[in-house]
């Protein structure tokens, strides 16, 4: 799968109009300079040579250097950007799960009662709200009007000075360095973007959980459990929810994979320096190396997440064996 994707992205990028040198230089730069830069970047080599070089680099986990914006090693740029996306996506997914699983199960348990209607309404509304609109509303209310939370960034500008960035996941870095002021600032900066992303994601989890728990609650073993006098909460949350989790886990895997490629809109609204924005900038700049390397790395992540999801299946359902 990774090989196929790497090949497809390599070909598609070459089919797109434009090149990184023209894009970067714009109206400036002599024809000689452009020709020399194209030559320096190896863009004059036959496509098969470029492709072989790309696959060789991928096999060695060498992501190469970007073709534009300072030509930094892509590994360095991903090292700065990817942890930021991870720091946003992981808590947002956890929040979406919390919001999705508990109300989803309550709605299933109280089917066709007031809580069910309320939760379903919430899930439809939250699912249909554009993430950038919700983010903007939160910014206007909690930042501009109330001044409670920051509008943008990962950490307060002054507090962030001198923070040792070991992992570039600032929650971890601030804990590792024992800098609790920074830790607090990082948490505060996470509130709005995580809530925005988590809420929007939660709508689909609510609906999926509800429908699967309803289905599970109609199974014979649930009737048997109730007949044995097992407490209703245990039946619903201990048995029904656990058995309804397989499609939810599948969805989590898919969502996390998509979000790791960049929660683009959320990152844009909150000026979050993550992968989404990076990838868009590089696509617009026709930075072949950066785009194909990043997409290939994502393919590897998606494969890893798929594996993790498969392992989770077997934990959730003992009948599943590989």
């Amino acid at each position: 799968m990774i090989f196929i994707l790497a090949t497809v992205i390599f070909v598609v990028l070459r089919l797109l109009p434009g090149d990184p040198v023209t894009s970067a230089l714009g109206p400036r730069g002599s024809p000689e300079l452009k020709a020399r830069m194209i030559d320096d970047l190896g863009l004059n080599d036959p496509l098969i040579v470029q492709y072989g070089r790309f696959l060789g680099d991928v096999a060695r986990f060498d992501l190469g250097t970007a073709l534009t914006e300072g030509r930094r090693p892509i590994a360095d740029e991903m090292g700065e950007r990817f942890p930021a996306t991870l720091e946003l996506v992981v808590p947002a997914t956890v929040l979406a799960l919390l919001i999705g699983l508990i109300p989803g199960t309550i709605a299933a348990h109280r089917r066709r009662q007031a809580p069910d209607y309320a939760i379903r309404l919430f899930s439809v509304i939250i699912y249909s709200i554009p993430v950038f609109w919700l983010g903007l509303m939160f910014q206007l209310i909690f930042s501009v009007k109330l001044g409670w939370l920051p509008v943008s960034g990962r950490i307060d500008a002054i507090t962030g000075i001198g923070l040792e960035r070991t992992t570039n996941i600032l929650v971890i870095d601030s804990v590792l360095s024992g800098n609790w002021v920074a830790f607090r600032s990082v948490l505060i900066h996470l509130v709005l973007p995580v809530t925005t992303l988590g809420l929007v994601l939660s709508g689909v989890f609510v609906r999926l959980t509800r429908i699967n728990v309803i289905e599970t609650l109609q199974q014979d073993y649930i009737t048997a459990a109730r007949a044995r006098g097992i407490k209703e909460l245990v039946v619903v949350y201990g048995h029904a929810l656990k058995n309804a989790m397989i499609p939810v886990v599948t969805l989590i895997g898919l969502q996390v994979a998509i979000l790791l490629a960049g929660a683009v809109l959320t990152e844009s609204v909150f000026s979050w320096p993550g992968m989404g924005r990076y990838l868009i900038d590089r696509i617009l700049a026709r930075d072949f190396t950066a785009v194909q390397s990043v997409v290939t790395m994502f393919a590897i992540f998606v494969a890893m997440i798929s594996l993790a999801v498969d392992i989770l299946y077997s934990l959730l359902d003992p009948r599943v064996r590989y």
């Binding site: 894009s23 002054i158 800098n179 320096p273």
Partner: protein, 577 residues
């Protein structure tokens, strides 16, 4: 999980949360840079009859946070070509000559003075005695010559050496420890303006002679007022004063400048509006917040000032002189006569764009309104007469393609082209077809001169001189005007020859008044020939809180001393918070 393990996990989680919610019990480490101690003394208070000294919070470094939507593309002056990179380099470095804040007046920089040979070819710069990098390393003429070698030979990805070095410099040498002599290829009257640019700012001698260092490890030392002590691409850059600076710029009034990077203008606008503890999330928003609705919103906020910075980026239509139908002079004149710049400014930019009647914007030597003098646009009857002369009528309409890049000039570009098309079609003799093409393909097609008769382009100067607003559109194909041959630079006709002659004459003239007169003449001919079609320039805006002030070093206090050169001098800024 065992019950004891669960309790242990709970305890750890609670401890972390408690720490997170706790007060400011720890201090943040700051960049370890050896700078003079500027911490204020702790004040004392006296209560009743008993003297009680209350230990006050030590005042932290006085800091100003500046927001921007720019990003760092590279910090090596031998390659940097982006506006924000130049701003940083101008603050951490110094060129041979400088501009007085807020103006285009040349003042001493690294060179305390300079002389020019009678033939205008040899410039001799006498360096100051006290030029130091942030780590105490002293700069001499030989080191400066090494820097010139780097800039001219490395000619990096931005081609800055190829644009601002090699076209001008024939040779250079260190005459002695404090004297640099530069011999030019021709007598360029505006060479003093050229040597104010970032390429003429020396990097630290640790920078290798044979390789560019676009993202050097911090601290990044220049010979200017500031040094970069820390930067995280995409997040922020931190600058502190260069303790060894002894030049003519005033000493910084704050201990630290932080540049904070934003993805877009709306988020930056909200950040400056967000106030906590009496201070904005950022103190200043500078570049690029030009969306009319945002400016209107910010102007309505108590305590915020929106300053307008004149000059800078212009927008114009490239008119291809070798491609039908704009190879016909009457067609070009008709297009020029139909443009209503005021309507464009009002309808597309809510009045924030300044109509431009020549390529040289207001504030620069020789700026005038040649297109207004020649065409008095909009003048529909005159345009119809030109079109009739070109053989077109209401039944035989001119079929015109107008091209633009939809993503490169912001969301207003589509509105601009739509309105421009309406203005052309108002003649009743033109049918417009709009072509949108993504930037990297578009710009190649514009410059190549093979595809578009009329296309939108923007321009920002490399050096603030009228030459840089005219020469690029005439020389070597003229960025798509094709009034000269891209390879040989030969003018295509007598009109183009006359323009080129005037350009050379004005460029080599050293007398300011004579230059201004030559540029006035050149602009009239430029307009008559409709070499390009200037539309408007977009002033930049700087937004800041009322606790921010600027040194009254220049007459542009409202724009924090940012003038037509777009230099924000951090050392002139102060804050009362």
């Amino acid at each position: 999980m065992k019950r004891t393990t669960k309790w242990l996990v709970l305890l750890v989680v609670l401890s972390v949360l408690a720490a997170a919610c706790g007060g400011d019990s720890s201090t943040t480490t700051v960049a370890a840079v050896d700078t003079p101690d500027t911490t204020a003394a702790a004040p004392t208070t006296t209560t009743g009859s008993t003297d009680t000294t209350v230990p006050a919070e030590p005042a932290g470094p006085k800091t100003i946070i500046i927001g921007t939507t720019d990003s760092i593309a590279g910090l090596d002056s031998a390659d940097a070509y982006a506006i924000h990179d130049w701003e940083l380099l101008r603050n951490i470095g110094e060129a041979l000559l400088s501009f007085a804040p807020g103006t285009t007046d040349i003042v001493p920089g690294l060179a305390s003075d300079y002389s020019v040979s009678d033939d205008g070819l040899v410039y001799t710069f006498n360096l100051r005695d006290d030029i130091f990098f942030g780590d105490g390393t002293e700069l001499d003429a030989n080191m400066y010559v090494d820097h010139l070698t780097r800039m001219l030979t490395l000619d990096g990805s931005g081609g800055v050496g190829g644009a601002l070095g090699t076209p001008f410099i024939e040779s250079y040498r260190a005459v002695d420890d404090r004297t640099v002599e530069i011999t030019l290829k021709d007598a360029f009257g505006y060479f003093p303006q050229v040597v104010t640019g970032a390429p003429y700012m020396p990097m630290h001698p640790d920078f290798p002679l044979d390789a560019l260092v676009e993202f050097p490890d911090a601290p990044v030392y220049g010979v200017g007022v500031w040094m970069i002590t820390e930067y995280v691409p995409g997040e922020q850059t931190v600058l502190e004063p260069n303790p060894y600076y002894a030049g003519s710029a005033p000493a910084p009034k704050v201990d630290r400048i932080i540049i904070r990077y934003f993805n877009d203008a709306p988020t930056m606008a909200k950040a400056i509006e967000t106030v906590k503890d009496g201070r904005g999330e950022i103190d200043i928003a500078w570049r690029t917040i030009g969306q009319p609705d945002l400016l209107a919103e910010l102007e309505g906020v108590d305590g915020l000032t929106v300053g307008t910075v004149p000059g800078g980026g212009v927008r114009f239509m490239v008119i291809n002189h070798q491609l039908a139908p704009t190879d016909n002079a009457d067609v070009r004149k008709a297009l020029a006569a139909l443009v209503d710049r005021d309507e464009i400014s009002d309808r597309v930019y809510a009045g924030t764009a300044e109509p431009l009647y020549s390529m040289i914007p207001v504030g620069f030597l020789g700026a005038n309104e040649a297109f207004d003098d020649v065409f008095g646009a909009p003048d529909i009857p005159a345009a119809q007469a030109f079109l009739t002369a070109a053989g077109y009528s209401e039944t035989n309409k001119l079929q015109l393609q107008v091209a633009y890049p939809p993503e490169h000039y912001g969301g207003t570009a589509a509105d601009l082209i739509q309105l421009l098309s309406e203005q052309y079609e108002a003649s009743g003799m033109i049918d417009v077809e709009i072509i949108s093409q993504e930037w990297s393909t578009y710009i190649g097609a514009v410059i190549g001169g093979q595809d578009y008769a009329v296309s939108l382009l923007g321009w920002f100067f490399d050096y603030p001189d009228p030459d840089n607003y005219l020469a690029p559109f005439m020389n070597n194909g003229g960025l798509g005007t094709m009034i000269t041959d891209p390879d040989t630079n030969e003018p295509i006709d007598a009109d183009a020859q006359a323009l080129m002659d005037l350009l050379v004459q004005a460029g080599t003239e050293t007398d300011v008044d004579a230059r201004a007169a030559l540029y006035a003449d050149l602009q009239e001919k430029f307009a008559e020939n409709v070499t390009t079609l200037p539309l408007f320039f977009l002033p930049e805006h700087v937004v800041y809180w009322d606790y921010i002030s600027a040194d009254d070093a220049a007459a542009t206090i409202e724009s924090l001393n940012i003038g037509p050169t777009f230099d924000l001098h951090y050392e002139l800024l102060d804050t009362s918070k």
